[in-house]
Amino acid sequence: MNTGELLIALALALPLFAAAATYAVGRMPDVRETLTLVSAIGLTIITLSMAVRTGAGDAPQLVMARPLQGLELAFRLEPLGALFALMASVLWGINSMFSIGYMRGKREPNQTRFYVCFCFAIFGVMGIAMAANLFTLFVFYEVLTFSTYPLVAHKGDEPARRAGRIYLAILVGASVTLLLPGIIAVQAIAGSTDFVEGGLLQGKVNLDVGGILLALLVFGAAKAALMPVHSWLPTAMVAPAPVSALLHAVAVVKAGVFTIMKISAFTFGPNLIGHMPVAQWLLWLAAATIVISSLVAMRKDDLKARLAWSTIGQLAYVTSAALLPAAAGFAAGGLHLLAHAVAKITLFMCAGAIYVATGATRVSQMRGLGRRMPVVFFCFLVGALSIVGMPPFAGMWSKFLLITASFGSEEWITATAMIVSSMLSLFYLAPIAIRGLLPPASDAAPVEFVRPGGAPGLTVAPLVITAIASVALFFFADEVIAFLVPVAGAAP
Amino acid sequence: MTGYIPGFDANLALDAILLVMLVVIVAAIAATHRMLSAVILMGLYSLVSAVWLVVMDAADVAFTEAVVGAGVSTIVLLGAILLTRGAAAKVSGRRRFLPAVLALGVGAILIYATLDLPDFGDPASPANAYVGRAYLEATGNDMGIPNVVTAVLSSYRGFDTLGETVVIFAAAIGVAIMLGFGERAMADRTIEPLAGGPADHHVVLRVAAKLLIPIIALYAFYVQFHGDLGPGGGFQAGVILAVAVILHALVFGLKDTMAAVKPKFARGVAALGVLLYAGIGVTCIVNGGGFLDYDHLFPRHIEAQIPDWILGPADPAHPHHWGQHFGIMAIELGVLFTVAATMVTIFYGFAGRSMEAPQPGAPRSGAA
């Protein structure tokens, strides 16, 4: 077993080991949480070294098992996956830190289950990121779905269980009825489901069949929340804030768009995508998703709901990027994946910190709150501006590149939608922070802290880190793009 | 038609009359509201069909049908309606239509298919000309016993008969699991079991039974050992033997019978019978044959030393007849054990069940 294989195996084994160990020491919270953090750091080291190797042009592979004849549970690293894995593992650590603060602050029950499921979710993400074929990807995609279900239903009361049911019904429903038959059809047509540079199906399907397959696969990856399979995401807002952060930033939705990117780049290949009418229609749908979700987000008073709708729109950016017949767009999509993750996790952690400190969940309650929690609200502003696409934050580059690429490939509708939505997002995100920092309205009493001392330090520190990262990414965007070029380069 | 002409045949007329009787009996069962009538008609049905079977040349089957259908089945059914009395007899007027349609539909399909069947009695039909005839031709050579049915039953298709014995054993187990084996009757002195205790005004019965029981038992053994030559065999003999025990219980009381033939003993014998049967099969394997291949029942050197007086001198042309003879005899004995013991166990199960007082207000008839 060479180093590359070892790294892959470790990246998969570590979360599993962490899950087992967490369960074993579940009765000792301090040990348990230390363990989580240590695992996250370990995983970060592993994914970092994977990213370095991939950046150097190495593509380690590992065939884990052959479940059936002609099927392989196999892994292969490529830059996009390595980036995703790295991002997930870093954000896992940060999010874990936040979780510890949040869960302790809220005295939540079933914490051990929470951490164990978190580990499994990361296991799923690692598998998705490193999958060498659609089969493997699907396997871990479902692992991710089912391991996050207990997190969504964490509270265990009826609304939470109901949200969990909807979450599962839509995600699994789409994946079983659309994604799985699509993948099996790919297997039937191409004889394998491997991710191949330039597209597996290139030259093997006509445009009609290919179109049907593309639609099956894109809608099947409901985690990407492309309308009309988006409704699970707002529903899942009942979950605790760390879970929302996980769903939106680290794992679930990112896994969805990552899947679409992989399918676009490696299963169909840019050539095929570029010629397919269905791809065009899907682009329009994505554009519609971008605009509609922004409009809905403006009307939401619940902070987390507003963020959720914002996520739907932002994901459609990446979906668009994946379907654009332009290489620059693809790389920009990768960058946006990263930028949005960092920004969104900041926003959610802010929401969580506010909730822990004051119990406030609605935007209208937060006026003037920023005076009492300046750090949190400042970081919120950073995140919001990054999402909007303002310099000097990471979101600016990705949006800029995406819009340029859309114009470049004469997708006027997409470009327009992106511009409009950016402006809308300015209206629905920035005011939260700004109003929070304004003096409280004279007629309404400001919300009181329900927790003496406000937000715990462990909830504030992570969001500061991610806010700083948002700024930092602005300056390192070029490196990321360069890192992704081998994948994007395959695109014309 | 293959040269066969159905002329007038007394048998054919008898056949038709008996079949019509059977149809009438079934119609009567369908029409009657009383459980007891239904059970008695059921016994009658078995008896008439036994007669019909004789007309059809199926002597062994007729024998079995008579002892089982008219005998044991009726006893078990009577026991059941006694134990379920007070709960019976509501004949619901609903659901007449659907069952009728279903039965007619299935019947129509069957009759549709029947029209393609070979003519009744056709000696050249595939059923009669192929394997059936092969048995008739081969038995003399392979086994050397006159009753071909016994030969097929115990040797050619001996494995089926093993299965049959096991089914009976399974029934014993099933009934014992459900109803016990009369342990309540044995243990509890206050409960009067179904079969009743000795009653002093039954002198005639007791005298007759005392005379009959040995005769019945003797007859059972006659049927058992005569099975090679004529109708009969382990199964019929077993039922007859069991009937002797059942008669004893009916006349002298269940407790006395249980003291003589202990339930546990009966259960053990049932298992032993199957063991004997399967053991014979395994012995054949040990001695170099296939399972139940009686030709290899004895190792060759032992077979050569069997004295002539047992079965007469060995036929040099067919030295294996002895194995077949002994094998058939032994497995029939196994069948006898299991069947007799099972029938007794089943009877104990039903008879030993304490009668529950009929529920107040429950309709009470049917078994009256």
């Binding site: 239903a153 | 595939p126 044959g289």
Partner: protein, 507 residues
Amino acid sequence: MITFEAFYAAPPALTAHAPALLVVGPLIGACVAALSPNSRWAWMISVGSTIFAVWMALCLAGEVARQGVVNYYMGGFAPPLGIAFRIDALGVMMALLVSSVSAAAALYSGHALDAEVRSSKHTLFQAGFLLCVAGLLGLVSTGDAFNAFVFLEVSSIGTYALIAAGERRDRRALPAAFNYLIMGTIGATFYVIGVGFLYAATGTLNMADIAARVVTLGDSRMVQAGFAFIVVGLGLKAAMFPLHGWLPGAYAHAPSLMNIFLSATATKAALYLMVRFLFGVFEPGSDFAYHFMAWVLGPLAGAAAVICSIQAAFEKEFRRVLAFSSVAQVGYILLGLSIGTTAAASAGFLHLLAHALMKATLFMAVGGVALHFRGRTLDDFAGAGRDAPWTMAAFATGAASLIGIPLTAGFLSKWRLIEASLAAGQIWMVVVIAISSLLALAYAGRMLEAIFFRTAAPGAERAKEAPLGVLVPLWILAGFCVWFGIDASLPESIAIAGAQALMGGRP
């Protein structure tokens, strides 16, 4: 082709007689168990003879791998005079399945019987159980149509009483068992009528011989009627939709030992016999059989997969949910078989194996908890995940496999089924499988939700962890569920060999 050389360590004399000993072993075991003095002895005999059966099945597997088909003449008489056992790769598959599930169930029964059956009846119960095992093993190995009936009844008669023995926990076991007895006997009698027509048409009872002679008959009403009655009769026994009405009650209220054993094997053995007739006796190439498969079997299987899943989703009692799901899952298997290609048949068989494994796991988990717990409904099981984590984790594994979650055996078999339907151009089957999987998610999800995400009502009876003697076989089964979800090459090779043996080299 499968090779079991590693397991294969029997003297040649024993191997030569493995077909007979496979059946006779449990049979003798049953007699000895009935004679044994107490419960513990009976249990040991039960475990011993089922393990012996597994050994014999492995020996047979080795023989089949070497020879292709093993023929064994009972009494030394070649068919059509004598009864012959005919065991091909498919038969071996079934024999391995039945014997190994029975061994797991027997191991489990040591604890289960104490809780569920009066101690005075343990020996009888074990004897009855072994008779069922012997009956099913005989059923899957015989090559004689009438002998199959006898074994069908050997297993059934024992089963009726053993199901009814569930009365001690829930009196509904009694009407359920009675209903099963009626339906099962009607089914068996239909089968006998069908065999009678075939006998009238061909004059023989040996299945291979019938097949050879049926071909020469052409379009005979006798053969058609025989076909129809055999299929309906065995369909009743196999709980083929819409003839499944007896099954949920019978499975739900039986003692847990029988739950495990029956749900994993009984209907499948009847199904196996039906398949032998469909493909081995009536050529599927013939118009009648072809139309039957395409227009009757397939749609019925699809309806079963959907409708019974819906019924399962509305059931309140744990075991009944699982029982309805069994009917639905049998629908999957039949879907695969109705396509009529080797690939599809092997997919069906793979699912058959996977389903047996997961249903055994599920019922054993429920049974294990129920040893000291009277809960039956979803509400009763609320919070059981906290009270009995190990048992319920195994349950969750089985449920995941039932839904078809990746990394479990159920996923791979569904994958193969969808692949085969796509390859045959049967898009509607893909839709049916997908919908039914969602419904499986619904009903299994409800159970898991109750177990893990609800808290027990205050004052309610709490579940207890199953004893170690139950946990060990339970986790062995659950482990197989996962192992065959990661690497299903072993069951798949068995299923492919079985399908090839069945289809005889057709595509």
